[in-house]
Amino acid sequence: MGETRDAHETTTAADAVAISGVTKRFGDVVAVDNIDLNIADGEFFAMLGPSGCGKTTTLRMIAGLEFPTQGSLKIFGDEVGTLPPNKRPVNTVFQNYALFPHMNVLDNVSFGLRMQNVGRSEAADRARALIKLVQLEGMERRKPSQLSGGQQQRVALARALVNKPKVLLLDEPLGALDLKLRQEMQNELKSLQRELGVSFVFVTHDQEEALTMSDRIAVMEDGRLLQVGSAEDLYERPANRFVADFIGQTNLVDATVADSDTIVLGNGSKVRATTSLGSGSKVAMSLRPEAISIGPRGSAPADHSEESLDGIVSSSTYLGHAVDYRVSVDWIDLEVRAGAIGAQQRFSPGDEVSLWWDRAANWVVAD
C-alpha cells in the first residue's frame, strides 16, 4: 500500500509527544509496527482505525502502561522509553473509566494529588474546583456506582485533569454513552481542551467523531500508521485506498496510469486525472458520491468530456436533503448523491444518465 505521509516530520522540543520508529510486539503479534508520530503542544489529536489496529497499544505506550519493544518515545523532549506511568506528566481517561469503586467522587478526583504528596486540604480544594468545572457539584460524596454513565465520564475526566497533565490521553471515552450524550460530551471535551490548551490524544473508531473534533487525525491499520493529517487532508487527499475507503463514503474505481495526466479505467475509457505514479501502475480513482453530477444521457458539459461516464440508474433512495442513486456504468456501480432541493430532475431506475465531475474532485490513490 501507499507511502506513509508525514512519516518523517522533524522533531522539535515543543512537541508534546514524539514517537519515532516505535514497534510493540506481544509474542508473535505485532500490535504497533514501526510508527513515527509527532503530536504538537495544545493539539487535539485523534487516532482512528478499525478494531485491533493498535490504537490502544499506542496510547498505553505513551502512558507508560506498556513499553515499546523498539524505538524512541519522547514527551516534551524527554525520552520516556521505560519510565513507569507514575513518573510521566500524562494522565489517562480509561475506556470504561476505571473509577475506584470504594472511593467517593471527591476521593477519586483528589487521588492523583494525594499520591503526589499534596496536602489533604489543598488536594480537596483543587479537586472541588475540577468537580465544579465538570459540573458535578453536590455529588462529591457519591460513590461511582451511584452515578450515571455520563457523570462517571466526567469524574474520570476531572480525576485526570486535576493533575494538570501536559498530555491527556483518552481511550474511546465516549464509547459507552448514547448518541445524544455523546454529542454533548464531544462539544464539552472540545471546549475544555481549548480552554486548557492541553494536548488531547483521543482514540476512537468513530470517524465522524474524529473528523469533527480533531485538529489532526492519524489513521492506523494493522499496527501501521497510514496517514496523519487534518480532516480535510484525509477526506480530500487520502494517502491510499484504505484511507479513502475508511474516511467517509467513496467510489473506488480500479484503473491503470497511462501518463501523468491520464488514467485508463477498467473498461478502457480514458479519464483525466493527475498522478505522480509511473505509467502502468495499478491505482484506484476515488470519487466522492457528492462530487459527481448527474444528468440525462448526453448532458455532460463539453469541457467535462474527459471526466465523464455514461450509465443507467439502478436504484434511487430519497433521503430528504439528498437523493442517493446507484448507477451502473457497464462494468461497475457508482454511488451518486444529488441535492434534492432545487434539483432539475429526478431519475428513476432504468433512466439513461450521464455522470461527470470536476477535475479536482477525483483523487488517485495507489492500490
Partner: protein, 272 residues
C-alpha cells in the same frame, strides 16, 4: 430488595418456607446444646434442673483451660501467617505470569482436595524426619506449621475469587495517577480485596480451631488443643461439661464473625 427481580406469590412463600427450614436445621442442635449445658444431670440429654456448675468446672479444670489457651494461640498464629502467605499466593497467581504457574496453582489447592488423614500422615513423617535433622520437639510449632499449611489454600481460594472479580485496569489507573506499585496496592487493591482477606482469615481461624485429625497426628506428648482434648474426653464418656466447652467455643466463633463484620463496616475508604 425491590423491583422486577423480587420473588412474588408462590415463589416467595416457598422461598420463605425453605429459609425457615434451613434455619431450624442449623440452629435447633445449637439450642439443644446450649440448654443441656445448663442441665444438672451427669447424663447428657436428661434434664436435671438449672445449674452453671459445668461452666465453673470448665473454668477450674486446668487441663481444659490450658488446651483452650493452646488452641487460641495456634489459631492466632496460623491465621496471621496463612492470611499473609495466602494473599500473596493469590496475588501471584492472579496478577503475574511466571514459569511453572500452573503447577504452583495445582499444588496450592492440594490440601483442600486430599483427605485430612493423608495430609496428617504426610506431615507426621515430615516432622519426624525434620526433628531428626534439626532437633526440635513436636508441639506448638509443628501444629502451627501444619495449620498454616492447610489454611493457606483456603485463604488463597477466597482472596483469589475476590481478585478475579476486580478490574485490573484499576491498578493501572492508580499508577497513571502517580501511585507507585506499592501505593496502588495499598490504596486500591487492598481495600477492594479486604472483604476476601477477612473472610479468608475467619475461615482459617475456624479451621484451625476445629481441626482434630491433623493436630492429633503432629502433636507432641502432653500437648493438646481444645478439640483434641475434648475428643479424648468423649472416649471416657460424655458429660454436660463437654456441652459447656462447646458453648464457649461457639460463643467465641460468633464473636469472631461479629468482629469481622464490624471491621468491614467501619473500614475507612480514604487513601493516606
Amino acid at each position: 430488595m425491590t423491583g422486577i427481580t423480587e420473588p412474588r406469590g408462590m415463589t416467595k412463600a416457598s422461598l420463605r418456607g425453605i429459609s425457615w427450614l434451613v434455619y431450624v436445621f442449623f440452629y435447633a442442635p445449637i439450642l439443644v446444646l446450649i440448654i443441656f449445658s445448663f442441665s444438672d444431670n451427669r447424663n447428657v440429654g436428661v434434664w436435671g434442673g438449672f445449674t452453671t456448675s459445668w461452666y465453673a468446672d470448665f473454668a477450674q479444670d486446668s487441663k481444659l483451660t490450658g488446651a483452650l489457651s493452646n488452641s487460641l494461640q495456634i489459631a492466632v498464629v496460623a491465621t496471621l501467617i496463612s492470611v499473609v502467605l495466602g494473599t500473596m499466593a493469590a496475588l501471584a497467581l492472579e496478577r503475574f505470569s511466571f514459569r511453572g504457574k500452573q503447577v504452583f496453582d495445582a499444588l496450592l489447592y492440594l490440601p483442600v482436595i486430599i483427605p485430612d488423614v493423608t495430609m496428617a500422615v504426610m506431615l507426621l513423617l515430615f516432622f519426624t524426619q525434620a526433628a531428626k535433622w534439626f532437633g526440635f520437639s513436636k508441639g506448638f510449632s509443628t501444629i502451627a506449621l501444619s495449620h498454616i499449611a492447610f489454611c493457606i489454600s483456603f485463604v488463597s481460594i477466597v482472596v483469589r475469587a475476590r481478585l478475579a472479580g476486580m478490574d485490573d485496569k484499576l491498578e493501572e489507573a492508580a499508577m497513571d495517577l502517580y501511585a507507585s506499585r506499592w501505593q496502588a496496592f495499598r490504596y486500591v487493591t487492598l481495600p477492594l480485596i479486604m472483604p476476601g482477606i477477612l473472610g479468608g482469615a475467619l475461615l482459617a481461624m475456624t479451621l484451625s480451631l476445629d481441626d482434630v485429625v491433623i493436630t492429633q497426628f503432629v502433636t507432641g506428648a502432653g500437648w493438646s488443643t481444645l478439640p483434641v482434648y475434648v475428643f479424648s474426653l468423649i472416649r471416657k464418656g460424655v458429660t454436660p461439661l463437654i456441652n459447656a466447652v462447646s458453648v464457649v467455643m461457639l460463643v467465641a466463633s460468633m464473636v469472631l464473625v461479629a468482629l469481622s463484620l464490624l471491621t468491614q463496616r467501619l473500614r475507612g475508604d480514604d487513601p493516606a
